[in-house]
Symmetry: none
Subunit: 254 residues, 2 copies
């Protein structure tokens, strides 16, 4: 049995364009070309196409498929295994994305019914995320990927116990901050203690502490009202105060 482009296309559930493209890139050539220039495919080509579509379904790129098809068993297994790794990585990424999207939805949507606690915890993760964006690359090049990954693992995989400790620290930051605020001096000992507690707390979410990043977070506290609101429940201006204290603490001016 012989097939023309459309026939084979219909058979395989693809378009004619795809077949012409595969011909063009030398992935699947027709058995012959008739006198009118029509591409004619035979049984052998059907089998090949099936193989191609199989790999394509696995999201293997056409170039790789070509190589695989041209020399079968040419380390197909290794190729598939690494492809599998890619897929697993991809899924982990998607899992993270879903988590983040849901987090964002929750923050945007459930404005009312969320406790400040929960809100902040959500913000924290977002904050870490954005910090990662800002400083991630630097740190990656400085300390290697492992450090950063570990940090992310830490963030995402905190145990219940760790989480409780972090929450405790969070409270202490707030307490100390409020206590320090009344002194009015961000360089005061108690204010610096607040900054230090804040560093400890941050380190819980971010294993690779840097002054710059810490200062960056502080910047966000004044810039972003979602954060400032959290710190200013007791005293208006507390977020700015914490910011100033952290700036002194880190010694980062700018």
């Amino acid at each position: 049995m012989e097939y023309t482009v459309q026939q084979l296309a219909k058979l395989a559930g693809i378009t004619g364009r795809t077949l012409r493209y595969y011909d063009e890139i030398g992935l699947l050539k027709p058995a012959r070309v008739n006198s009118s220039g029509y591409r004619i495919y035979g049984e052998k080509e059907i089998d090949q196409l099936q193989q191609i579509l199989f790999f394509r379904a696995l999201e293997v790129d056409l170039d790789t498929i070509k190589k695989i098809m041209q020399s079968p068993e040419f380390d197909m297994i290794t190729a598939l295994k690494s492809h599998r790794e890619e897929l697993l990585t991809k899924r982990r990424q998607i899992d993270l994305l879903i988590e983040n999207v849901e987090k964002t939805i929750a923050m945007k949507g459930g404005k009312v019914t969320m406790s400040n606690q929960e809100k902040f915890s959500g913000f924290t993760k977002q904050m870490i995320e954005e910090n990662e964006k800002k400083f991630g690359k630097e740190i990656r090049s400085k300390y290697g990927n492992k450090t950063v990954d570990k940090s992310n693992e830490k963030l995402m995989g905190m145990t219940e116990e760790q989480y409780l400790v972090a929450k405790k620290l969070e409270e202490q930051v707030l307490e100390t901050l409020n206590e320090a605020f009344v002194t009015g001096d961000p360089a005061s000992e108690i204010a610096q203690k607040a900054a230090d507690l804040h560093r400890q707390w941050l380190s819980f979410y971010w294993s690779q502490y840097t002054k710059e990043a810490h200062a960056g977070v502080a910047q966000m506290y004044v810039a972003d009202e979602r954060f400032s609101a959290y710190y200013e429940r007791e005293h208006k201006g507390a977020a700015k105060f914490l910011h100033d204290a952290i700036m002194i603490y880190t010694g980062v001016d700018k």
Copy 2:
């Protein structure tokens, strides 16, 4: 503080090209352009860029980001929700892809020029695979994806040492089975020990042990001659014997 393209790019961990592109498509315009045509960005642009990168990390396409940024709260939630749906669909697809890739790996693994050892290891994978097919779905819903992934990772990512231990267990299963076979009683202590060793061995490949799965494997030993052949090298009927022992061991009747 003002930044030129490279400076901001470095800060944000992207390339200058990206910033120029964002300018080109009107996603992020510089604060101003100096007399030499240099793009100059300010603090406000940094914040905007952070927002952009946040959405980009969520794999939202730039066009959508643009719309979101241009009219904040423009049904951001709905947009995010549908984006979440997309992600979920994508994950399901990837799950299927992974499943198929693994199936293919397993099938290709048990092919031609392999030693018996290697063959068996190939069969093992296929077996695990088929188990996964049979019980995977249940387990996924019961224990979530993470458990199953861990199991697969375990299977594919065993260390050399682990592999040796597994091989040792494999031998012991065979030894004990042969020893038990002569008693003729699959309920005997030694036969049950064989079943237990088999469970241990299986657990090496499958971190989430369940009686049902174990029984399923046993079923395969009698149904599939590739497996039975392995166990019956010494005694004919040994595969059936192991099957019976495992059935008693697991308490799964049927």
